[in-house]
Point group: C2
Chain length 335, copies 2
């Protein structure tokens, strides 16, 4: 079996670390792994398959001979190195939002639009975390009748802000437990025992960048150019796994039974929907695994063609690292 040289750009961050773990878990055919990070981290080692690998500085030359670059860095880093990656003949599977809406760049959730991968020109984007979880949950319904509008309110875990998010939450909880205060650095406000209804900066008509991703990326992934989405993104004091309360209006009515059946069969989804038995998706239950849990499926009382549901998924795994490696798997299947 062919072995691939894989670089992880931003290997020291939360998503980069998870990518390395999942490459190993899923037995991705890695011949050589190259962790790339800033000059500050170069020379240090990270563990991969139980062995030490040395971090190299991310520089244009570092991509020579690489087959696949998994991007776990911010937009500016992704933009800086994309030309060198493409020039080196590697494929860049990028988790940043830099190229997601570029018409020359496929935006892939492998359970939904795997065929789009063939249209790449060296760059494939990994979608936004909340968007991946939501579209994975609703795609089987879209296959029954196209989604016209979606209203989503998110409940996003602190680890969505990177490795510093959970540390800040725990530091605040501890400080408050001792009657002290803790000056927030990662978030704009205290997140312990609080909610922050802002993720990202203002982008469009009072919506944040994070909120607009649900519409703009949802359109591209589900091939629904006219999809309209109103999203409200809220940071909650949960360590891991994002949850989303979703209302969907379809072209034609879909019954709750149809919806349950479709979601139970949908790849990447698990139906957890028994209110009487107090069973529904909860972030504690969806953490450290790859499946999106879907429940609370019921008619939307505001629209005859509507359904409401609640979904949760691990945003570091399915919402980022696992989805990127699934894309890499598509690449080598088609190779």
């Amino acid at each position: 079996m062919k072995q691939y040289t894989v670089a992880v750009l931003g290997a020291t961050g939360a998503v980069g670390q998870e990518m390395m773990k999942i490459l190993s878990e899923r037995n991705f055919p890695v011949g050589k792994l190259i962790p790339l990070a800033s000059a500050r981290s170069a020379g240090k080692t990270l563990k991969f398959r139980g062995e030490d690998v040395t971090i190299q500085e991310a520089r244009d030359e570092a991509f020579e001979g690489v087959d696949i670059v998994l991007g776990a860095a911010e937009n500016d880093i992704a933009q800086k190195f994309a030309p060198a990656i493409v020039k080196a003949g590697a494929v860049f599977v990028d988790n940043s939002s830099a190229f997601r809406l570029d018409p020359n760049v496929p935006l892939i959730v492998p359970e939904i639009n795997p065929e789009d991968v063939k249209n790449h020109h060296g760059i494939i984007s990994n979608p936004n975390c909340s968007t991946i979880i939501t579209v994975t949950a609703v795609n089987a319904l879209n296959a029954i009748s196209p989604i016209r509008t979606m209203t989503a309110s998110t409940y996003q875990a602190v680890s969505g802000a990177g490795a510093g998010g959970p540390i800040e939450l725990m530091n605040e909880v501890q400080a408050l437990g001792h009657g002290k205060t803790y000056e927030p650095k990662v978030f704009s406000h205290q997140i312990a025992f609080n909610l922050i209804p802002q993720i990202g900066g203002e982008q469009f008509e009072g919506y944040t960048s994070e909120e607009m991703k649900m519409q703009n990326e949802g359109r591209k992934i589900m091939h629904l150019p006219d999809l309209k989405v109103s999203c409200t993104c809220v940071r909650v004091p949960v360590v891991r796994s994002h949850s989303i309360s979703v209302s969907l209006h379809f072209d034609k009515p879909i019954s709750v039974e149809q919806a349950r059946e479709a979601i139970a069969k949908a790849p990447g989804c698990k139906l957890v929907d028994d209110l009487a038995k107090k069973q529904y998706p909860m972030p504690l239950d969806t953490s450290d695994q790859d499946i999106v849990f879907v429940g609370r499926i019921r008619p939307d009382l505001t629209d005859d063609n509507g359904l409401c549901l609640w979904c949760c998924g691990d945003q570091v795994r399915k919402g980022a690292a696992t989805n990127a490696i699934q894309i890499a798997e598509l690449l080598i299947e088609k190779a």
Copy 2:
């Protein structure tokens, strides 16, 4: 000034205690305060205006000579004592849901439908906590153009489950901090660092009792018999203050500017809406006070006649105790 004999039914609970505090804070003309509770608590004392008052057992005879009974007990207790309260000639301002939808019982938010108070026959209901906060936030918009549909996702604090809620949250946080687990008693699942998307039992088409209150009580308070509401109620690890993400569709379009202006002027509301300055309602900021904060006002991208907003309010105060005492104030104004 006339002084009133006021009984608090369920005086030892979180809402009963808050009612006693707010009666004192607002200088309600209490001649005599009678805290009522179960036989178990009878004989113990509570503080009112700095003085000890003795808890009496809630019995039919206890209501003789009482002018106003503030109900802070569960439905079964409210139902049990309502006949004796009415027979004694007192007015029962009841925080339970037992009588809220009874056509002979006004359901009042004093900023919205104070005139309904005159239709009482001895019982006036205090609405559901999330409903009070939401309708207080949106009523000024309803006055511009009637609301046709509302989609709401709640983020409800643990104190909404009574005094035991915050204790359980803190016990769980402490146990987890020491690597231990804590068996939940108040909630069905761990609430620390988790979300529970169920409040109340199943009532209608997969919706819980708590979720249906937003529609059924909203209709009655705002005099909108055809209002359609889809609500998703979620318990979050916040100590106090409920938050609600709301999408509203109106008869006619309302601009964001109109909405901001109306909410800034609305009684009981404060406009906190400056995303660029990271200013928006947060539960930490709305706790221990009576005003509903409203922000994140923006066009609903799924409907030309729609708006989205985010609101927070202290559900023990404005969502329960303060609203009940405002109703009592209406009663004595009209007396």
